[in-house]
């Protein structure tokens, strides 16, 4: 920027900051200004379409190894409440926004987003035509990128980015997993959300959660549903877990290529059949991998808070929060069982085939027996959830804990509890009723009167 424009900008709410450069591996260049920490970072360029919840996005450990672009142009508007963070340590490589807010406004905010990013060492850039970047990724696919405030030479950055490692084949889960087991219970629930949420249910189920980069709100979701949770590292041997006699095992979300996380899915193979298992996102892929499924890398992934997913058992559509770049190929789980699949004998690659017919097909899996497709993404017909019929296990590719995003799929936490209770029809839950569970909308006049009288 010219000196004059710099000097004018300095008089606004934006401070003077150094230029920053984003270079993609195909040579595409975007220029902007730094708005977080200074530095140079490499990662996979991807985008998230959530309108709000930027803090939850950028603290999600599943973004390890990635440079994330927010499609909504003005980010940071309501500041930062650290209790909204999904992990203590930030795992993403960098953040790209169109316009960063230095003067946020919200009663829950304790600091600005740029302050938070700087404090946590996250390199960030603003002033980028993020829509152009998104359209580029959409057509060219997710790719490696470098974001730098140090080196502003396009050629040099391009050479560096070409030499940087690809996200495929990297085990990123181990980089964000906990080092030692720890306990997570109601005392961990954040005080700053009490205004909106009911107190948790009594802890009646002992759950061990594999941490491949678990989001805090998943643990909160389990606790609110009545679980007492012990979090263990990603590669904890199944034997050690079973020795604790948990009521259920939870498989967390996590970053990157699931096939690189063998030490987890190998354990999953030993857990299934011995204890009820529930997996979210990478956890879903872990169960799929354990069942011998093929994993595909999506062109540019699902990242946002508006993906429609149909529950094939109820025909109801959930608006879901999503964050994944890899997915399970349902047809690779085994041949269809026609008598349990509406008489259909041939797999349809586009799973919307089943959504249109409201059929939840079942395959015969070599490892675990019958597996049912339970959830389908209506945007692109990919697999969003499966349930094992011969063993107590189910998983979804998307995020019932939302954070950020719509909470339509909250019922899956309830379903896990019902599975642990031995309920056969554990997934048959009214979304609309369950969606209300756990929220506190405020005091009704009657409650208010009671409170005043007390």
């Amino acid at each position: 920027m010219s000196e004059l424009s710099e000097s004018i900008l300095e008089r606004t709410s934006k401070p003077k900051r150094e230029p920053a450069l984003l270079v993609l591996e195909d040579g595409t260049v975007f220029r902007g200004r730094a708005c977080g920490a200074s530095g140079e970072v490499f990662g996979e360029a991807c985008f998230n379409t959530s309108l709000e919840g930027y803090l939850e996005v950028l603290t999600d450990p599943s973004y390890a190894g990635q440079i994330i672009t927010m499609t909504y142009p003005q980010i940071g508007n309501y500041g930062v409440n650290p209790e909204d963070a999904q992990a203590k340590k930030l795992a993403l490589r960098g953040l790209v926004v169109r316009d960063m807010c230095y003067t946020p406004s919200n009663w829950r905010s304790t600091e600005t987003l740029p302050e938070y990013l700087t404090r946590n060492g996250v390199v960030a850039v603003e002033g980028v035509d993020t829509r152009a970047l998104v359209r580029h990724i959409r057509s060219a696919g997710a790719m490696r990128a470098v974001l730098s405030t140090i080196d502003l030479d396009e050629k040099s950055l391009l050479a560096k980015v070409k030499a940087s490692p690809s996200i495929v084949g990297q085990n990123l889960a181990e980089t964000v997993s906990c080092m030692a087991p720890y306990h997570f219970d109601a005392s961990e629930l954040p005080a700053s959300k009490v205004f909106a949420l009911e107190p948790p249910a009594a802890p009646e189920h002992k759950v061990i959660a594999y941490d491949c980069g678990v989001k805090r709100s998943i643990l909160e979701g389990l606790v609110r549903a009545g679980c007492d949770v012990t979090v263990v590292p990603w590669d904890t041997p199944a034997e050690r877990v079973l020795a604790e006699h948990p009521d259920g095992v939870f498989l967390s979300n996590g970053p990157g290529d699931p096939e690189a996380v063998a030490a987890t899915y190998e354990q999953v193979g030993k857990l299934i059949g011995n204890v009820p298992v529930f997996g979210i996102c990478l956890g879903h892929q872990m169960i799929s991998c354990a069942a011998g499924a093929d994993i595909e890398k999506l062109k540019f992934g699902h990242r946002g808070g508006n993906h429609p997913v149909m529950n094939l058992l109820t025909g109801r559509v959930e608006i879901t929060a999503q964050n994944h770049g890899f997915g399970c190929v349902f047809e690779s789980l085994g041949p269809l069982v026609p008598e349990l699949s509406g008489g259909v004998t041939e797999h349809a690659h586009d799973l919307r085939f089943w959504a249109e017919r409201k059929i939840a097909p079942v395959v015969d899996n070599k490892r675990f027996g019958k597996i049912r497709l339970t959830h389908v993404n209506l945007n692109d017909g990919t697999c969003e959830g499966i349930a094992l019929l011969d063993e107590p296990a189910f998983s979804v590719q998307y995020h019932p804990e939302a954070s950020p995003g719509p909470t339509d799929a909250h019922y899956l936490f309830t379903a896990f509890v019902r599975l642990m209770d031995g309920d056969e029809s554990y997934l048959d839950i009214d979304i609309a009723r369950d969606r209300l569970a756990g929220w506190s909308f405020g005091r009704t006049p009657a409650e208010e009167k009671e409170a005043v009288n007390a």
């Binding site: 379409t49 309108l51 405020g442």
Partner: protein, 1075 residues
């Protein structure tokens, strides 16, 4: 679930005339519904009294009834058409209320009509505050603490408990009419007593004040499988206390953290389920305490609303279309997203831009009314703007308003509002002008905190505004050539217009544009695609931004025509012009053109993304239009269909080399320049009223003396007759110049001889350069002097002789040809003593084109568009314009006086109406009577008719009074009028005037003892008894006439109606020419 096969015929009720709180957004939603349901194979029957709507085009429904939207008339339509279902959720509150009445009275059951989209119980739960509050209590969602009052005493008791201020909401009124905030006991008494009268249920809700809280709206959709989505969240910039229709609003919500937003989302979905909205769109409003996040639900509308239209335009998600499909049985996952054509409609749109809506007001028309914005909506229109940031969108929105502003301050435009008011008060008091006072306060160095204290506006918005002002001030007095490319780009990203930069650098807009483009600073165009770029989009819906170079538009390879829309609705320029623009798009598309629409009004059909091949949602300024011209390079631009807005750009566009289609700017100037126009009329031997112009007050008196009184006077710049008046003598003229029109050498006033008691006639015609086709001849009911937009009119003429009509046609033909018209022309005539005078000629679309087209069955705007594209009238196969009609069509204006307490209701040369209705029947009186029913007049068969007329009318009132007495009414009159009546042998009761003590006529009106009132104003005495009387009539909903001609027409109509019942007529039964 597939669509229902058990339904065959569906009845859709429209929203009737444009009124404040219910504007053309319901034409947009209703038109969408008609289109998709017809596509789905249903037979559509439509009732809507508003002729200026696209939905009442005979092609859109199978049976179109332009009839009063009253239970009585809708029942007649039901009896004739035997619909299987009634869809009441797309025609605003009017349709919903009518549907409720039909359901409650058993009409729907009697004819076996099923209400679809929303059932009676759900409507009641949504609309009845008590039932609604119970539902919310069940859900645990807080409502503001409150109680119901059925009397002032009730209200006092509740207010004492809650503490002042309290919010007052009368039940079942449109757009919150009659509501308000009471800060003390006096205000409470005043508002409650009014509110109880206005509420059909005689009920007012007294509520704790949550004034100053943040306000949000959620646009929700639900299907019968129970799937629910949020289409859009909206945050109001003006905090609680200002009606959302009067607030500046922003989409998406800007200052909610995820946990707060998701809680609101879940609550919104739960509200729909609880209220029982089976399918369709609803709007749920919340208030949030900025200090602790306490969330209170304000209300929900179990129907498509004004905000739905805004949300549809803001996101690209067609709520009304989807709602119509859901009502016939589809589920959201079965509907395809119209924009991407790839993904289902069952998702929540995500956007990658910011949308700002700014309301448009018309307080200048209602001088003596309080202009403070409150919970009672007063805006007459709105604009929407899209930018990549709030700053950019705000700047665009403010320059779209068409009120002389070029952005957020820094444009040299003087601040409006009351002169005597302090600056501090201008900042803190919410008014139409307040947003500009915020800019000025920031310029004067007020801190964000101080403004937040004064206004309650969230600091987020204020900081963004402070940044805009900072950038503006940095540019102030800089030399233009000192501004480099980066700085230009910076200014543009903060929403500054070229006009603002020109003002700040003391240069001209054209110089700024030239410099800017020379430096390569040009905008890019992005796409509204519902998905923030995640999927490819098939729909060309664009906006402009100053982002990087990546632009998403390119000119097509077909012949392209660009149509400039009409901008925000305001009094004088409403839906009629949008109708014409939409027709142009349809007609030229059919001729093989690629059509490009430019407009900034989110309520309209023209800004529906599938009306034209391409839509640019942009302000209609020179800069914004030229930027689009630069990328689209159209073969022609149409400027004559969107009213004044595009017309005033015509000259500059032509000068810039833009090809203007049809009538050229030179011809427009010929008609508008009074001297040149007079020369032409002299040349053609056409009579016109004596006229003159004056640059000083003394000169004005002199000119007036020469021409002779009475005179029609007006300032040189006129829109919708603003600032016009009839003056009767020199004193009056002086007073006018002192009060209404600033006279100066730069701003002369015009003086025309006023033809008292002349019959006024409007004529619309199309000229192709060789030939003229007379579309309609409209005889006004009110005599000359009443603005043509406020006057009722009838076609074919009901009292003019054939000889006179022939003379009008001949004059119009000669004039249109001489002016070089290619396209539409509207000519206003006055006929006095068998002489035809031309008052004015406008070679452009007029307000009456839609009405005329419906009345005659010839779509004039389409004909004109094809003529502008080069076709000849002779080749179009039009019916003879001298054909006889078997039916009469009457247009009546709808006045907004109920919204503006304190303003006088007398009609005059200044236009004040917001909308119009149409009545069709086999005689003039019957058609006229239908229009009176359509505007809401329902005169009982017996009772007291009160008459009080000016001295000059005392002789002419007698036959009218005689007719009224013969119909069985009792006459009541003030002393003077009574004397005239008694002298003519009519018996009448004398009643006291207000100043004569009690009991007086005002009390009679308040007590409901008067069923109809005739009161003509006493010259220029606007502040006397008459004013009080007319205000009382408006307040108490007593039908009234302020002209003798209207009173005569109504008396005749009542007589005709007594003799037989009125039948309903479908447009499809009248001759229609599909062009």
């Amino acid at each position: 679930m597939p669509k229902r096969e058990d339904l065959h015929t569906i009845l859709i009720i429209g929203s009737g005339p444009i009124v404040i709180g219910q504007a053309c957004e319901f034409d947009y939603s209703g038109a969408q519904a008609c289109k998709v349901l017809k596509q789905e194979g249903y037979r559509i029957v439509l009732v809507n009294s508003n002729p200026a709507t696209i939905m009442t085009d005979p092609g859109l429904a199978d049976r179109t009834y332009v009839e009063p939207i009253t239970p009585e008339f809708v029942e007649k339509v039901i009896a004739r058409e035997k619909p299987d279902a009634l869809l009441p959720t797309l025609g605003g509150q009017t349709a919903l209320n009518t549907a409720v009445e039909l359901a409650e009275s058993g009409v729907l059951d009697k004819y076996g009509v099923e209400m679809i989209g929303c059932d009676l119980a759900a409507i009641q739960r949504g609309e009845d505050r008590k039932l609604f509050n119970e539902c919310m209590e069940d859900l645990g969602i807080e409502t503001a603490r409150s109680g119901y009052a059925y009397s002032v005493e009730d209200a006092e008791g509740i207010a004492d408990e809650l503490g002042y201020p309290v919010v007052l909401r009368p039940s079942y009124t449109l757009g919150g009419a009659g509501g308000g905030i009471a800060h003390d006991h006096d205000e409470l008494v005043r508002i409650v007593s009014q509110g109880i009268e206005l509420s059909p249920a005689g009920e007012v809700l007294v509520e704790e004040s949550i004034e100053g809280w943040k306000e949000y709206e959620m646009e929700v959709m639900r299907d019968r499988a129970g799937n629910g989505i949020i289409v859009c969240s909206i945050e109001n910039l003006d905090p609680m206390g200002v009606h959302t229709g009067d607030s500046i609003t922003v989409a998406p919500a800007q200052t909610l953290s995820d946990v707060e937003y998701q809680r609101m989302r879940v609550a919104s979905l739960a509200v729909l389920e609880k209220v029982g909205v089976e399918t369709g769109g609803s709007n749920v409003q919340f208030a949030v305490n900025p200090v602790n996040g306490r969330m209170v639900i304000i209300e929900m509308n179990p129907r498509v609303s004004r905000s739905s239209a805004l949300a549809s335009k803001a996101t690209g998600f067609p709520i009304a279309k989807a709602a119509a499909r859901l009502a016939v049985g589809y589920t959201l996952d079965e509907i395809v997203n119209d924009i991407t054509k790839k993904t289902p409609a069952c998702f929540e749109p995500t956007i990658d831009y910011c949308v700002v809506k700014v309301p448009r007001f018309a307080f200048e028309k209602f001088k003596d009314t309080d202009d403070t914005l409150s919970t009672r909506m007063k805006a007459v229109g709105e604009v929407m703007a899209i930018g990549r940031t709030f700053e950019e969108a705000l700047g665009k929105a403010l320059r779209s308003l068409e009120d002389g502003h070029a952005g957020f301050g820094a444009d040299g435009k003087a601040l409006g509002g009351r002169v005597e008011e302090s600056f501090e008060s201008h900042v803190s008091r919410p008014t139409a002008e307040r947003i500009f006072y915020l800019a000025e306060a920031l310029r004067r160095g007020w801190s964000v905190e101080r403004i937040h204290e004064a206004t309650g506006i969230d600091p987020f918005f204020l900081t963004r505004m402070a940044d805009i002002v900072t950038v503006e001030e940095a540019l102030r007095n800089m030399p233009l050539d000192g501004i480099d490319a980066d700085t230009f780009r910076l200014a543009k990203r903060y929403g500054l217009s070229d006009v603002q930069i020109a003002y700040l650098t003391n240069t001209s807009e054209l110089m700024v544009r030239t410099c800017r483009k020379a430096l390569g600073v040009v905008p890019t165009f992005k796409t509204v695609d519902t998905c923030a770029g995640e999927f490819e989009s098939e729909t060309a819906y664009h906006y402009k931004t100053y982002d990087a170079e990546a632009t998403e538009v390119a000119p097509g390879d077909r012949k392209r025509v660009m149509i400039l829309g009409a901008g925000p609705n305001r009094i004088g320029q409403g839906i009629e012009f949008d109708y014409c623009c939409v027709h142009a798009s349809y007609a030229l598309s059919a001729e093989g053109y690629e059509t490009i629409m430019v407009n900034c009004n989110p309520e309209t059909v023209s800004t529906d993304y599938d009306t034209s091949d391409k839509l640019y949602f942009e302000p209609l300024t020179y800069e914004d239009v030229m930027d689009i011209v630069d990328v689209e390079k159209p073969d022609g631009v149409i400027v004559t269909l969107g009213g004044q807005t595009p017309l005033k750009l015509a000259g500059a566009l032509a000068k810039a080399g833009v090809p203007i289609m049809g009538t050229q700017p030179e011809s427009i100037d010929l008609a508008e320049d009074r001297d040149r126009f007079s020369d032409i009329m002299d040349e053609l031997g056409i009579a016109y009223p004596a006229a003159g112009m004056a640059h000083t007050a003394d000169e004005a008196v002199e000119v007036a003396h020469r021409i002779g009184y009475p005179l029609l006077v007006r300032p040189s710049y006129v829109l919708g007759g603003r600032g016009m008046a009839v003056v009767y003598d020199a004193d009056h003229l002086k007073r006018y110049m002192a009060a209404a029109a600033k006279i100066s050498p730069d701003h002369p006033i015009y003086l025309d001889r006023f033809l008292e008691s002349a019959v006024e006639v409007d004529l619309d015609a199309v000229c192709d350069g060789d030939e003229v086709y007379i579309g309609d001849v409209l005889e006004h009911i009110e005599e000359a002097g009443i603005h043509s937009g406020d006057s009722a009119c009838c076609t074919p003429p009901f009292s003019l002789s054939n000889a006179i009509v022939d003379q009008l046609r001949d004059t119009a033909t000669r004039l249109a040809l001489r002016l070089g018209t290619v396209g539409l022309i509207n000519i206003q005539f006055a006929v006095k003593d068998q002489t035809v005078y031309v008052i004015e000629a406008n070679p452009r679309a007029s307000r009456t084109v839609p009405f005329g087209s419906k009345a005659t069955g010839v779509p004039l705007a389409k004909v004109a568009s094809r003529v502008m594209a080069g076709e000849k009238l002779a080749d179009m196969g039009l019916p003879s314009d001298r054909r006889a009609f078997d039916h009469f069509s009457v247009k009546e204006a709808v006045m907004p006086f109920g919204r503006f307490p304190g303003s006088d209701v007398v009609l005059g040369p200044e236009m004040k109406s917001t909308g119009e209705v149409m009545g069709i029947a086999d005689s003039f009186p019957a058609a006229y009577y239908k229009t009176q029913l359509a505007v809401g007049y329902d005169i009982p068969d017996a009772g007291n008719v009160f008459i009080s007329v000016a001295d000059r009318d005392k002789r002419s009132i007698v036959p009218i009074a005689r007719d009224i007495a013969r119909l069985g009414y009792q006459l009541v009159a003030t002393a003077g009028t009574a004397r005239a009546l008694k002298a003519a042998g009519l018996s009448c009761t004398v009643v006291k005037k207000i100043h004569e003590g009690s009991p007086n006529i005002n009390e009679d009106i308040a007590d409901g003892k008067i069923v109809f009132m005739i009161n003509t104003p006493f010259g220029h005495e606007t502040r006397g008894d008459g004013y009080e009387l007319r205000s009382a009539a408006v307040r108490h909903g007593v039908p009234y006439a302020t002209t003798l001609s209207a009173a005569q027409a109504l008396a005749t109509a009542m007589e005709v109606v007594r003799q037989r019942t009125l039948d309903v007529i479908a447009l499809q039964d009248l001759p229609q020419w599909g062009i």
